[in-house]
Amino acid sequence: MSSLWLPILLAVPVLGAVVVALLPKGADQVAKQVTLAVSLVVLALTLVMAFQFPSAKGDRFKFAAVYDWIPSFGVHFGVGVDGIALVLVVLSAVLVPIVVLASWHDADGVRTADGTLITPKRSVKTYFSLLLVLEAMMIGVFAATDIFLFYVFFEAMLIPMYFMIGSYGGAQRSYAAVKFLLYSLFGGLLMLVAVIGLYVVAGKSTFMFPELVGAIQDPATQKWLFAGFFIAFAIKAPLWPVHTWLPDAAAQAPAGAAVLLVGVLDKVGTFGMLRFCLELFPDAAKAFTMPIVVLAVISIIYGAIVAIGQSDMKRLIAYTSISHFGFIVMGVFAMSQVAQSGATLYMVNHGFATGALFLAAGFLIARRGSPHIADYGGAQKVAPLLAGFFLVAGLAGLSLPGLSSFVSEFMVMTGTYASKAHGSGALTVAAVVSALAVILAAVYILWMVQRVLNGPTAEPVKAFKDLSAREIVVLAPLVALIIGFGFFPKPLLDVINPAVNQTLVNVKVDNPAIAEKGAGQ
């Protein structure tokens, strides 16, 4: 009884990548169009699947498909989505066509308005086929229900991203790409050890996630295996103090790749914490809650403060993301329904908000040829549309109410504050301290806006053209989603909430969803 939805979703982009790679030399335009078409097909399929999700069969993982892969080790090609995975698959599918359009000229050799070449011409086909391979990996990693398969996707994702940063990035690209790769591989290896350990200790001769839930009872074993998984995910997320690869990678990657890197790839870290760390090792997760929440709060405040001090737009955005990932991790480990639903929603919203901000910044950088904030000034006068989109994306970054990231940030903070999972008032303090980030967020975003968009128009900025039709098509859907989900988060939350409840049941949290509402209920 296997559903073909997810295998098809995985196959389409892979086939597309092969087709694009095999196109004859010089067929750049065709390569772009084919990539766009394939990614739109994937988006359409994903949306159809998402709308069928509520009525689909299956208790937890819907659209499940399981095939034997390495029978002697109990490895399966197992895919399926619950509400949490579904929204992240949708996020990936939405972002890829946008990124394809945004990167339309990235491999052609980027010139500024006055004709200076920023990045040289490179193979267009390779770039777009890498993009499609990456899309398949991203869908696969969220949909995998077999832990071994998850690990394979988790590591394989690095390959296309490594080449996208290393071959198509900015001046420091090889440093950034190697740093990214080494960090991820280090975490990945720890996780591999833990995956094998889990297989051996559980003794169930299978890597299927649903069968492994609750398989490990011994607390000490749980802690070791938990650590293996968690460190890998903390690097991916990234959590302070293993975050420094992200600003380099995001600043050097082309804007489109940066969107996928920060918007989707990093979510695998927080997704992994929620799915694997919590459910497989509930006791260890509870034992480590406080240290992890402390790290998360440090990430939130530290990321925000360092973001204020950045002089490079893309690095600044990367640091804001570190701050936001702190919120997600805090929400995941607050062990309350509101906080975890908020964290999951945050993963999606952050993808849209930071995606829009990276792309808008990318459009500015493509015009000016410099990521340095000091090289701008007064862009609003000459390019009001671009400035408007940049401002809205920035406001989403500072979680302005009415925009989608507010709902998730508010849920995370409120849920953490109200969570009684840890008994003591420590989570309360964490929530209050993290709320200070709302002030810092206003500083880092608005100060950047002031320096880039406001003030007298700088001489090189005067030549800026406003957004082209292609660029509007890139940004408009993201902004529409940001505003739409800011007022109507219900469709997403209706999908997320049951999955989060299931997670909490598996984690055996003492206070179910209602209890956290307190004495008043």
Binding site: V306, I308, Q310, P401, G402, F410, M411, L446, Q450, F487
Partner: protein, 635 residues
């Protein structure tokens, strides 16, 4: 002491059922103007005005529908949709308090929209201005109409955004851009308080809805209620520019004058007062620490604002100081519990009229004087701008509390109630009124009386009708509204279902001790102003002034304090953190990489290339292995 009545779920249709239209109209206007952009340049301002007026019409209809209901029925909750499942719904609360605000916002707002047609007629971005104004009206209405704190907070930040956009409307001026950012950031400090207050509410009661909260607030522990109250007060201080978060308001005058009138005088800055009055359940009982804190903040700010107002030569900043001061009065009133609520709201409404009147009057003066704001370069304008002069005079008389004008009734109500509850705070308010008499008279004398001190290219002229008509309407309100609302306690009885009222209705005394003292002090203040600025020559250049004058000119060193307490340490912290990140954390990472690289660089030196050396190491290795095997014993 009577409590507010219970909130009932609105069932029947009528205008109240579609009261969301009030928000939808201006929101639609803003969306159309922003999305269609330059295409709407020709008629954009008309659409903006139309949407604001439409909203006003809905508000008026809803008001009359509410009037038709019995007192117990006058709190109608209108459910809109499920916002965050399991957490909060989006809904509106139509009750006397919210509808009073809605009338003020849409009424004064529409007048200011109309005025702006004229004021902004030469600005190429007039359409954008109207889109922001519409956005503001929508957000402000959401703020006052929402039936829960989450909805209120969305409106709260929405008006903050509109304020940010409008202060920075002329963003190409660095000063405007900085002022806009400052306003937003300082407001966020207040929002932090509001947010944490909401965390506690949710944690303790599991709801954000006003209806449920007012029921459950009584069951909470006293420290918790105090904490919520103080945190809400922090939020109110941010939005209403009360001490210690006052510093942004004076800089906010960088925005176009209609913005100062609408947002930074009549409506948005009074949102803090609304929040305190709406959250009555958390400021109970009177004299509780949190209620006292509200009153103290109000009294302190009313003095601070008045002192700042005395020293400003910039007409808008003078008015801004006065706004701070008047909101201080409202806060003082709001801190006195149900006895003061009606006066606080009454003063809020009349202030909305007379202060908007004066701001628009100042705008009219600036319009005629090439956007000059320095009052030392005005003088003798009464002959050249008669309508502006008369309307401004009305506003002036209202604000200083000239008997029988609007401000007289509402301010006097606050002062008398304050003296009854707390002698110290009450008499501070009396002193504040005296200072008000001085600085407002100073403004009048410097602007409209005395000699001409104009710049050479100034050709003052009366503003067009589209600007003077709103002035006239506002000044009519400034004359009669106060008496209408306060005499025979009309406003108190009207608001009672929403905010409660004291058991015994207060009687308005025309000759009470504090009232007479106030009048006497105001007269002294005005006379002193006449001596210094009316009769005497006003120097064209600001004289050096005493220590106290400098203190007031520098906004009581508020900015200096913020700078040395927060900005400079913050900058240091940022620098240290960036340095730590680059050299510390990344240093460790890069150091590790360099260390491994260096070690391998040394290790490879062992590979000398001499085959015999390798042979020797092989031999030694083999010997060691053999030896080890022998040591271990039989294989």
């Amino acid at each position: 002491m009577e409590s507010p009545v219970e909130i009932v779920q609105h069932t029947a249709g009528g205008v109240i059922g579609v009261s969301w239209l009030m928000i939808a109209f201006p929101l639609l206007g803003a969306a159309i103007l922003l999305i269609l952009g330059r295409k709407t340049d020709r008629w954009g301002h008309l659409l903006g005005v139309a949407m604001s007026l439409a909203s006003f019409v809905v508000a008026v209809l809803a008001f009359f529908e509410l009037l038709g209901l019995s007192a117990e029925q006058r709190r109608q909750a209108v459910h809109l949709y499920e916002f965050i499942p399991g957490m909060a719904d989006m809904g509106l609360l139509i009750d006397p308090l919210s509808i009073s605000f809605a009338l003020l916002i849409t009424g004064v707002g529409s007048l200011i929209h109309i005025y702006s047609i004229g004021y902004m007629s030469h600005d190429p971005d007039r359409r954008r201005f109207f889109s922001y104004l519409n956005l503001f009206v929508a957000a402000m209405l959401l703020l006052v109409l929402a039936d829960n704190y989450l909805g209120l907070f969305i409106g709260w930040e929405g008006v903050g955004l509109a304020s940010y956009l409008l202060i920075g409307f002329w963003q190409f001026k660095p000063s405007a851009a900085v002022a806009a950012k400052k306003a937003f950031v300082v407001n966020r400090v207040g929002d932090f308080g509001l947010l944490v207050g909401m965390f506690i509410m949710w944690s303790a009661t599991g709801t954000f809805a006003f209806a449920e909260l007012s029921e459950k607030a009584g069951g909470l522990s006293q420290p918790m209620v105090t904490a919520i109250g103080l945190l809400l007060l922090l939020g109110a201080c941010g939005k209403s520019a009360q001490l210690p978060l006052q510093s942004w308001l004076l800089d906010a005058m960088e925005g176009p004058t209609p913005v100062s009138a609408l947002i930074h005088a009549a409506t948005m800055v009074t949102a803090g007062v609304y929040l305190v009055v709406r959250s009555g359940a958390f400021f109970f009982p009177e004299g509780s620490p949190q209620a006292l804190a509200v009153a103290i903040v109000g009294a302190a700010t009313l003095l601070a604002g008045a002192i700042i107002g005395c020293a400003k030569d910039d007409i808008k900043k003078g008015l801004a100081g006065s706004t701070m001061s008047q909101i201080g009065y409202m806060m003082l009133g709001a801190g006195l519990g149900p006895a003061g609520y009606a006066f606080a709201i009454g003063h809020l409404i009349t202030h909305g009229f007379f202060k908007a009147d004066m701001f628009l009057g100042a705008g009219s003066v600036m319009h005629g004087m090439n956007d000059e704001v320095d009052m030392r370069k005005y003088g003798a304008l009464r002959k050249y701008m008669p309508i502006t002069f008369v309307t401004f005079m009305v506003g002036y008389l209202a604000i200083i509390g000239f008997p029988l004008l609007s401000g007289y009734f509402t301010k006097d109500g606050i002062i008398e109630t304050a003296v009854e509850h707390n002698q110290v705070l009450g008499w501070l308010a009396v002193i504040g009124a005296g200072i008000t008499g001085f600085y407002m008279s100073r403004m009048i004398f410097m602007t409209f009386f005395g000699e001409k001190r104009w710049a050479e290219d100034a050709h003052p002229h009366e503003s067009p009708t589209v600007m003077t008509v709103p002035l006239i309407i506002l000044s009519i309100g400034s004359i009669f509204l106060g008496g209408y609302l306060i005499l025979s306690n009309r406003l108190m009885l009207w608001l009672a279902p929403a905010v409660g009222r004291p058991e015994e209705l207060p009687q308005f005394h025309f000759a009470s001790t504090p009232g007479l003292a106030t009048l006497a002090l105001v007269a002294v203040g005005a006379a002193y102003a006449w001596m210094k600025y009316g009769r005497a020559e006003v120097p064209a250049v600001q004289p050096r002034g005493s220590f106290l004058t400098t203190f007031a000119r520098r906004d009581l060193y508020g900015d200096a304090l913020n700078e040395s307490l927060f900005m400079r340490p913050g900058q240091w912290l940022t620098r240290i953190a960036v340095f730590f990140d680059n050299r510390g954390i990344d240093g460790v990472v890069n150091g590790l990489a360099a260390g491994i690289g260096g070690t391998s660089g040394r290790l490879r030196r062992i590979q000398t290339g001499f085959a015999r050396t390798y042979a020797l190491s092989i031999l030694i290795g083999a010997a060691l292995l053999t030896g080890a095997l022998l040591l271990v014993g039989n294989i």
